[in-house]
Every structure is written in structure tokens, then in C-alpha cells.
Subunit: 373 residues, 2 copies
């Protein structure tokens, strides 16, 4: 896959999944544009699900642009943060739907980051066994990764994203202007998922990210437009080949096996998901190197880029007594694990990912090295 | 559709849903027969989900026949009853799966009635975004209705089956011997769903049920084999045409709109689901008559048959002050409702069902008449 030329104008990426196909609209100011929602079903009720941080910024604008399409546009604010990605929050959505008499034609709008998108998507998949929904991601991480591809879920105390569904949205509306309001830490977290697409699929895109890292951190519109579009193109391509993750799609989880262990081990919300993925990618690259799949220069290059994105590369100590064992325990509940064997997404030469197991002793060495800096 | 000839030997009904197709095996003694599970995936772990009533009767036999197929066969007992069809019970399944390190290849077996089947199916749909599952229904209601067709759900305090998924099992194993251990009240409840298939699809089957009602209540093996097989054939036909209930499939809900109001209004578990459906069918027939779709003789015939099945036909008073309004309120949260308008499954001439609305005043008269006897 080759990078395309960029323009700051609105662009569209197609996700090709038969009768579940949809478009990702990407551009500045799209959230408040009626055209972004053209062709969506116009029914009695829409429910915007958002959080207490995002609502004051964008809920009114979304409610305004949607009101001509629906008899009523309701809005529900959830508490903000990964630690609230739970059944209790999900049930607030069901409570709102049922207490307002929402029927099977009600359209849910997920307005916010990955947590809001994952929970709203799972609510849409499950309410009356399925109602339509639209993603309006307002974080970089959600725009380049979590809002695209139909993975929805909530966390369980024993594992991240363990309860959920594959359920595709009707549309994804990525308004690049919303990224300007992101705290720098959130922007950096999103850049981890952008960087991810290079090593697994497109080294020319990695070159481009290296060249434009300063512009991306400054939220330059032209650079951001290209980063979001190219990320979505790669994700759309992979999801189109393997919607339900029977194989290939797992490569999108590069950095996530170590990353999920960090998130769960530190307590959800301590490390942002993107921060854990950034550090996890460096750990997965080290493991790839230990297996002889990439060289030290590749690991150093990735580590330097993750650091330039403003992300941590020193892995946290999860347990003072038995740190590596704790990492291994947490990784064994990863969804890719089979019969207790942890499966890692590794880089099999720059630009190509592979899913495979690794000897525990080798993984332990990588953990020790990564926690020591 | 015409009734087929019956034999007490094992028979098979196919559900044709493309790559989600599966077979319903029907016969005496199938639960403990290795052949019933032939061709199912053989993986590291199976989890039998059952309840405290069914487990002492059949869990050991199922565990024994499955043990050659899996590295380990775990068993989880849930509390018994519709009032436990909740998130809390569902979460016991997730807890068991995660605390035992169950992976994406784990196969769930639902051993029990409709509540166990609906909850286990939804757990299978949601655990790690989907693991395989098998239905082993041990009640008549589950064998002829709830285990077939892929509707899974839990209840919400504001409505029955409001949270769930369309998710098909790999197989359904109906062991007719398990029906012999059913309390008479449960057997009668299951007969409500058998009777249902006559008015909506096959009046010759209704004739047959009338002739064999005494044999069915005595759990005669040959009569029961035909009742289960013919019910599954009709359900398989309807589900094959409309898996996700975009239209036609709703006819299977004959009696369920009034029935759900009775169940919810009385408190889940007071009336068995089948009892509420039996009474609800008579109410729906009365509404069909009020709309001029069937005559009084048809209503009287259906009412007499429901009574012969041992089911109530006197509708309960849900609210001493505002009974009809309470019924209407409860029916407005039915999944078939659209923009607050209740949709009823009505009989449009014997053997044919239609989904349509009715004037509130007419519905109120039917409720008043049905509560007065």
C-alpha cells in the first residue's frame, strides 16, 4: 500500500463489508455540517451518547445539526475515562433508551473518544438485539483506530474489552477540528496508533510520520488530515479482509498484548490506552528482535519515534516481587491467547506483521529490559 | 406447510442460514449419545452452563459424553428462574470463563430451559466478541421455541429480553427423554408455544394438536416427537426467511405482546412465559376478531385448546386502579413497537399471521373482556 497525496478538504474512506459497508468522512468542521449525515435513516429518535468532558464542547452543535433529521434528539453524558468502561456505564445507556421509550429504529450517536465509542457501539449491538449507530470520534485515537472496524466492548475486572460484539456503524464522521481541543497527552496517545500502521503495513508511511512528527504534535491541519486518512485506509483494508478477526486482523493489535497488560496491571485509566500501546510496540519490537525478525536499528528507530510522539518507552513495574510473572499472567487472558499460550503481534521484517508465540524466558528478558530502560 | 409423518427415532431439522446453518437433532436419549455431538469443534475447554434444578438430573451425563472431546469440561450452575435472567447471572458466566482462563475457542453448552439458553447464548455472543455454543434444551418450551433461531437476551427491569443479540448455536440437541422429568406446569407452558404454530402457519397441525392433546400432556413419546419436530420445522422455515426479524419473523411472537405485559406486570417468574403466551394468544385472537379478521368460533376453539393444555385464559389484573393503562404502558416498550405505537401479531384468517397496530380503545375492550373471563 502506498501513501496518497493529501489535501485539507473533506475526504472519504470506504469500508467494504458487503451489506455492512460504510464510509469514514474526514475533514475540518464536519461535525456541524448537515452533509456529514446525509443519507442516514431519519427516524423518531436519536440518542447522543457522550461524556462530561466532550459534551460542553460539541454536544450542542451535534444536537443542532441532527435535529432536522429526528423527531427528538436526546443526549446522555457518561463519566469520562477508561475506568468507567464498565457494565454500570453501559447500563446507563440502556436505562436512558428504555425510560425514554426508544424503539428499534432509534439511532445512537457516539460522540467522544474510544471509551464512548466502544460502549455506545456495544449498547447499539445489544439494545433490542441491534439498533443503528454512528461514530463521531473526537480524539485522534478514536479517529484513526477505535471508531473504525466495528469492534465494540466493555472491560471486565479480569480483562480489557472481554465483553463485546463485532458491530459496524452506519458511518464514521471524523472532524479534524475537534483534535485542536485535545490535551497534548491525549494527542500523543493517538499518535501511538498512527505510528502502529507503519511497522505492520507501510514503511513509507513511517517515513512520512518521522518527517511530520513536529507538525502532527502541533496539530497542523494538512499533516493531521493525511495521518487520519492514511491510518483509516490501512485499517479499512485489513478489516475488509478479516472483519471478525479470524486471522489477519490481529496485526492491528501490534503493541496491544504488552499494552493491555500495562493498562490492566496499573489499573485502567492510569496509563492512557495509547501510552500503553506506544510502550507495548517498543516491547513487541524488542521481542521481534530477540526472535531474529528485525535488527537493533529497527527497534531503536521505533523507540525514538515513540519518544518523539511524547510517549513513554520505559515499561512500568507492575509488581515489586514478581514483575515478569505478573505481566505473563495478564497477557494470558488476552483474546489472542489459545489454550494458555500468549500470541504476540510481531514485526517480521519492517512493514510486515505476524502473529506468533514466543518462549516465556525470552518474553521475560524483554520485560526486564523494558522495565530497566 | 404440511405435517410430516412421525417416528419415535432420532430425526434432524436443518436451519438454513448460509455459513451460520445448523441442525436440530430430535430424539429420545440424545443427550448422552456421542453421535449427537459429532462434528462439533474439539478444543481445550467446554463450559456447561445449567441451573440448580437441571444440574442434578443431567449435568453429569453431559459432562461424561463431552469429556472425550475437550481437554476439560467445566460446569456452572446458575440460580433457576426467569427472575434471574439478569446481568448479574450473565456476569457469573463471564466470571467463570475469565477466572478459568477460557479462550476464544471455548465452546459453551446451554443445558436447561429458555432462561439458561437465552443467557448462555448472549454470553457466547459477547465473550471475547463471540465464542461457539450448543443448545441442549431440557424443557418443551426451549425445544420447540427458544433454543432454535438464535435469539439471545437478558431482561432489564423496564422490559423483557431488551438486551441481547442474534447469535446462532452450532447445534441444538433435543432429548425427548428430558421432557419426562418436567413438572406438569412446565409441560403445559411449553404446549403454549406448540399450539402457537397452528394459527400462524399450519391449521392441519392445529387439528393434530387437538387430537393428540391428551397424549401430549401424558408425554407420549411418539406424539411428543411429532410435536417437537413439526414446531421446529415451522420455526426453521420462518427463521430461514428472516433471521434478524426485519418483518416476517415477528409472526412467531403471536401471543407474546400481551404475554410480555403479563409477565412484566406480575413480576418475572410469577407467570411462566408459556402461561403468559397461552393467555396472550387468546387475547390476540380476541383482538383479531374485533378487527374482523377471524370469527368468534375461531377464538372459542383456540381458548378451549389453551385450556385443555392446562393453561390460564383469564388475564390477570395488573393494576386495581388503571389496569388497561398499565397493560398499554407495558406493551409500548415491546420491541415491535415503533414511535410509541404497539404492533400486535394478529391472526388474519386461520393459519396466517399479520403484524399491525390497533386502536387503543379496541385494545382496552379486549383487556377488559379478558380480565373478566
Amino acid at each position: 500500500m502506498q501513501p496518497n497525496t493529501t489535501t485539507p478538504d473533506a475526504q472519504s474512506v470506504a469500508i467494504d463489508l458487503g451489506d455492512r459497508s460504510y464510509r469514514i468522512e474526514i475533514g475540518a468542521g464536519l461535525l456541524g455540517e448537515p452533509g456529514s449525515y446525509a443519507g442516514l435513516p431519519s427516524t423518531a429518535t436519536a440518542l447522543i451518547v457522550t461524556n462530561t468532558t466532550v459534551a460542553p464542547l460539541y454536544a450542542q452543535a451535534l444536537q443542532r445539526v441532527l435535529s432536522p433529521l429526528y423527531g427528538r434528539v436526546l443526549c446522555l453524558e457518561l463519566p469520562d475515562g477508561e475506568s468507567y468502561k464498565t457494565w454500570d456505564s453501559l447500563n446507563l445507556i440502556f436505562d436512558a433508551l428504555l425510560s425514554n421509550g426508544c424503539d428499534r429504529k432509534t439511532v445512537l450517536y457516539a460522540l467522544g473518544g474510544g471509551v464512548v465509542g466502544d460502549m455506545t457501539g456495544f449498547a447499539a449491538a445489544s439494545y433490542m438485539r441491534g439498533v443503528p449507530f454512528v461514530q463521531v470520534p473526537t480524539t485522534l485515537l478514536a479517529q484513526v483506530d477505535s471508531s473504525v472496524g466495528g469492534k465494540t466492548a466493555i472491560n471486565h475486572p479480569l480483562g480489557k474489552n472481554m465483553i463485546g460484539a463485532f458491530y459496524q456503524p452506519l458511518r464514521v464522521v471524523c472532524d479534524l477540528d475537534t483534535l485542536k481541543s485535545l490535551p497534548p497527552r491525549e494527542l500523543s496517545a493517538g499518535l501511538a496508533e498512527v505510528i502502529k500502521y507503519g511497522p505492520i503495513a507501510d514503511m513509507a508511511f513511517l517515513d512520512w510520520i518521522e518527517e511530520h512528527m513536529d507538525a502532527l504534535r502541533a496539530c497542523d491541519p494538512q499533516a493531521m488530515a493525511h495521518a487520519v486518512k492514511r491510518s483509516c485506509e490501512i485499517k479499512a483494508h485489513v478489516v475488509g479482509l478479516d472483519e471478525r478477526e479470524s486471522g489477519l486482523r490481529a496485526v492491528l493489535n501490534f503493541g496491544h498484548t504488552f499494552g493491555h497488560a500495562i493498562e490492566a496491571g496499573m489499573g485502567y485509566g492510569q496509563w492512557l490506552h495509547g501510552e500503553a500501546v506506544g510502550c507495548g510496540m517498543v516491547m513487541a519490537a524488542r521481542l521481534s528482535q530477540a526472535l531474529g525478525l528485525v535488527d537493533a536499528a529497527f527497534v531503536a528507530r521505533l523507540k525514538a519515534l515513540v519518544e518523539r510522539a511524547g510517549l513513554p518507552t520505559l515499561a512500568p513495574v507492575l509488581d515489586a516481587q514478581r514483575n515478569s510473572a505478573r505481566y505473563l499472567d495478564l497477557m494470558r487472558v488476552d483474546k489472542k491467547a489459545e489454550a494458555g499460550a500468549i500470541k504476540f503481534v510481531l514485526i517480521d521484517g519492517p512493514g510486515r506483521a505476524v502473529v506468533r508465540a514466543a518462549p516465556d524466558a525470552m518474553v521475560v528478558r524483554v520485560i526486564e529490559e523494558s522495565c530497566a530502560g
